[in-house]
């Protein structure tokens, strides 16, 4: 791999943005690697949108530095490698979806409009291509926003709440599209979302922001593996709890065993030999939602353990 390929697509150092007395970003340090889908999480006011707006040159940081596609934010050259959709996109209402993409292609200096039907089809808007956008639903606006972000064939695409306002089938299609863009088209996708389960399903890595600072960062698989436990549906439960001692807790009709994966097979063998009926045994991890609530200090929902 060359140095360029290995270099992060986004590098943020000590990034601070204040609005009066409010610190939207507070010395944020973040490095987003090339490739895959990267999620930026955080409660309202965590600084996600401010970060995206700075990266896209819409606003200026109060302090700190940020680079995008190896260039300083605000420069045109790196932005020509970047597509974006910030919040629910809006368009001139008198234009059709096809005209919107043609207009943006001209804005971006792209010769020809041959790719427009392809991207309209890719986001599921072929049939609405020649309808005026004033009649579009929020979900259709989002789809057109993604097509608009892709029309310039970027290497990096930044999506702010890409599934906002979409119905469940639309969310599923968007999720598939995002993963396909990253894994089939080789784009780096950076997205922000409030839907944590959504992020867990679609993202390879995540960063959790709180009060303008980075509080957790890593691969989703690594983050959710921490706190992993073996869930045993057994009878009698009390016998297993007694055998596990402090490593076991009751979870309804089952037992959660806090042991390393390597000790799992031996435990199951030992329980079977001791005459315990084992109906089901599976590893469960902590999901992003639990991590999110822990890291941001928000009030946690009662049920935080889900199947991994």
């Amino acid at each position: 791999m060359t140095a360029e390929i290995e270099s992060p697509v986004i590098q943020v150092t000590g990034l601070t943005k204040t609005y009066g007395s409010v610190r939207a970003l507070d010395g944020l340090d973040l490095s987003i690697p090339r490739g895959g889908v990267y999620g930026v999480l955080g409660p309202n006011g965590a600084g996600k949108s401010t970060l995206f707006r700075i990266l896209l040159g819409l606003i200026r940081p109060t302090a700190g530095t940020a680079t995008i596609m190896n260039g300083p934010v605000g420069d045109i050259a790196p932005m020509r490698l970047t597509g974006s959709m910030i919040e629910t996109p809006r368009y001139p209402p008198f234009m059709t979806a096809r005209q919107v993409l043609s207009w943006l292609a001209l804005e971006h200096g792209i010769a020809g409009t041959a790719d427009i039907p392809y991207w309209l089809e890719r986001v599921g808007l072929s049939e609405a291509a020649d309808r005026k956008v004033r009649g579009f639903s929020v979900g259709m606006m989002q789809r057109l926003g993604v097509a608009a972000a892709l029309i310039s064939k970027p290497e990096l695409i930044i999506l702010d709440e890409p599934t906002s306002g979409m119905d469940p089938p639309g969310i599923q299609e968007m999720r598939a599209l995002i993963r396909s863009l990253a894994h089939d088209d080789g784009l780096t996708v950076v997205l922000a979302s409030h839907q944590l389960l959504e992020v867990q399903r679609v993202c390879d890595r995540v960063a959790i922001l709180n009060k303008g600072k980075l509080v957790r960062e890593g691969a989703v698989s690594e983050l959710t593996a921490v706190g992993e436990r073996l869930r045993l549906s057994v009878s009698p439960v009390d016998q297993v709890l007694a055998a596990l001692g402090t490593k076991g807790v009751r979870d309804g009709d089952a037992v959660l065993a806090d042991i390393p994966r390597t000790e799992g097979p031996a435990l199951i063998r030992a329980l079977a030999e001791a005459g315990v009926d084992i109906h089901e045994a599976r590893w469960v991890g902590t999901d992003l939602e639990a991590i999110f609530f822990t890291e941001t200090g928000a009030v946690q929902a009662p049920e935080t353990i889900h199947a991994g």
Binding site: S49, R53, L56, G57, L58, I59, R60, I76, M79, R80, T82, S84, I86, P89, R90, Y91, P92, P93, F94, M95, Q99, S102, W103, L104, L106, E107, H108, G109, A148, S152
Partner: protein, 291 residues
């Protein structure tokens, strides 16, 4: 790139049929309709007068002496009045749409990251100048049609005479009218950028346009004569009138006070470039995340 931004802005404007209708087509249609109707009304009055047997023969002869209608001269005259309030008002509607559209439709975030802000604003200016040019062209076409109607109604012979001097006058008047319209739209640009409002982009230049005509009397009461620097600077309309008189030559040009042209050009340049510079400076640092 500036060229990309101009092409995109132009493309978007061509899809905005409402703005194009009001900016380009409405006033010429009104001009043709009103001009045509006026000719028919005048013709009716003339017919009535000619039917009066008591009319003196000299007057009858004067009325029946149709003469010719010189389209070349009519075009030169029309070029001198292209920046009239009606054309100005309706071009400003289109200009306000161009300047404030991205705030209104919340579309700055779609385009501002990939081009320099100066290019984006200059592209709007170029497109508005093109719009003004087209509106002036349509007005000239309307003037030709109106004169054709006049010639038909009054049975006048059409001629077309345009000498070198006449052509120079036409070009000078046309360019000055264009500059005057663009000057007003510059104020619209500044208002749009500062307020993010389409209505402000439309009404601020109109208010300035009206207000400047009321500056002469108060200034004279303060002892400032109409040809003084201050009077010319606060009233670019009078500056344009002076330049137009100079272009036309003849008695009007000869009657211009000494040194007024320098003041006039300075005033026109100031009112054209200052709003542009202000808009560019403001826009460069503007938070575009919330249109």
């Amino acid at each position: 790139m500036l060229v990309d931004a101009i092409r995109a802005e132009g493309f978007r404007l061509t899809k905005n049929r409402t703005a194009l209708f009001w900016s380009l087509v409405f006033v010429p249609i009104i001009a043709i309709v009103i001009g045509g109707l006026t000719n028919f009304v005048l013709k009716g009055s003339e017919t009535k007068l000619l039917g009066d047997t008591k009319m003196p023969p000299e007057m009858r002869e004067a009325l029946l002496n149709r003469g010719t209608l010189d389209m070349g001269g009519a075009l030169v005259e029309a070029a001198a009045s292209l920046a009239n309030p009606l054309v100005l008002l309706f071009v400003l509607i289109g200009a306000a749409t161009v300047y404030a559209g991205d705030y209104r439709w919340e579309t700055w975030r779609l385009i501002s990251a990939r081009n320099s802000r100066i290019n984006l604003l200059l592209a709007k200016l170029a497109v508005v100048a093109g719009l003004a040019l087209a509106a002036m062209g349509f007005m000239l076409v309307a003037d030709v049609i109106e004169n054709l109607i006049k010639a038909a109604v009054f049975e006048r012979t059409l001629t077309f005479t345009l000498t070198g001097e006449g052509a120079a006058h036409f070009i000078g008047y046309f360019a000055l009218s264009l500059l005057r319209i663009v000057q007003f739209t510059m104020m619209g640009m500044l208002a749009a950028v500062m307020t993010r409002s389409l209505l402000a982009a439309l009404f601020v230049p109109l208010v300035f346009g009206v207000a400047q005509f009321f500056t002469t009397n108060p200034l004279m009461q303060m002892g400032v004569m109409p040809d003084a620097w201050l009077a010319i600077l606060v009233n670019p309309g009078s500056a344009t009138d002076a330049i137009q008189a100079a272009i036309g030559g003849g008695e009007r040009a000869a009657g211009l006070p000494d040194g007024i042209l320098l003041k006039a050009w300075f005033s026109v340049a100031l009112w054209t470039l200052a709003p542009l510079a202000g808009a560019l400076a403001w826009f460069r640092r503007q938070d575009l995340s919330k249109e």
